[in-house]
Symmetry: C2
Subunit: 191 residues, 2 copies
Amino acid sequence: MSLEHAILGLLNYEPMTGYELKKMIDISINHFWPAVQSQIYKTLFRMEADGWLSVETISQETRPPRKVYTITVKGQNEFLGWLETPQPHSETRIAWLIQLFFAGQMTDEKILTNLRTLLAGYQQRLQAFTEIPDDNREKMKEDDPRDQFFWMLTADFGVAQTIGQVQWLTKVIHAIENHNYTLPTLGDSSK
Amino acid sequence: MSLEHAILGLLNYEPMTGYELKKMIDISINHFWPAVQSQIYKTLFRMEADGWLSVETISQETRPPRKVYTITVKGQNEFLGWLETPQPHSETRIAWLIQLFFAGQMTDEKILTNLRTLLAGYQQRLQAFTEIPDDNREKMKEDDPRDQFFWMLTADFGVAQTIGQVQWLTKVIHAIENHNYTLPTLGDSSK
DNA sequence: AAATTCATGTAATAAGTTACATGATTCC
DNA sequence: GGAATCATGTAACTTATTACATGAATTT
């Protein structure tokens, strides 16, 4: 499971609580591996039981005790082993492609409306990518530049992928608008 | 749930058994919504209980009885309603991007090995896309050309996306080979 | 002789989502 | 006064995967 290894990777930088991990995940791997809070807590529990993490519970006066998780040697070995193991091609589930597959049963107007809504969503996503909050950048400055390079690469992948999707949708919308139902030539990457 | 609606869409063409649906899914929506056999049978059971499908069991001498599923009017209404409902942007989980995120902890050699393995996988996928079996094409000829257009569009999306991934990986591999750790400029789509 | 096709299913497990619950503090 | 932050968790549910089971007929 990948969330486990993502958590190991983050805790390998520094010990953290589940709450802090959630925030870290939201600003780091979120766009290619999102995780909700309950999933993180459940996973931490299991990882501790597996001996990949150790916990230190720090009581507080007013708030619930902070449970600070630290990666163990066993966890580090697990992480480094996983890190070097080639992952299979990611299987992507894209619900709107199912709709497009069956779009023959819709009117052009309706298809265009939906595709435009989709395009707007991807364009918004693109903007979100390019607008990385300043305080994130501030935090990163202190970190290892080699690490930073790879962090930026993952963001760059998201940008490149989203640009591709925007371009593809734009092309398809134009084709339908012009009633040009020419079958696309597979493998033709030119817009 | 999208598998349900994909099944409704396929049964809207013609009644089928679970076994036949599995084969149809493998050659149609598989690359953006794969489904294993057990999942299909379970889902069919639920859909029939919900009144979206009706079943006719046809006994056979030597083999288990064929359970032919037919979409009901209720199922058609459900399908058409879903078809027009904009789906949210698809959340993609890409495990190898987690590895890339943490790649700062690996040697360049190891990173390159893994990226090359990944690239080979995507190139193979690309070839699989362009080599659509002839008997699939044969079957399609009888079908509505408007339907065919949208079917080909979904394949074209897969091709376009995979080409993008191949190009991106190639770019990154070259950058690392040349020890060019320049932070990518976000939003720069030129190779 | 071995593998594939046809055709159904079940059981166990894993991974993820949604929603609820608590409760003080601090910021707007 | 209301929202957000800190900080934990549970419960119910959904979706998907892996592996097993049966058994004749046909193809390689």
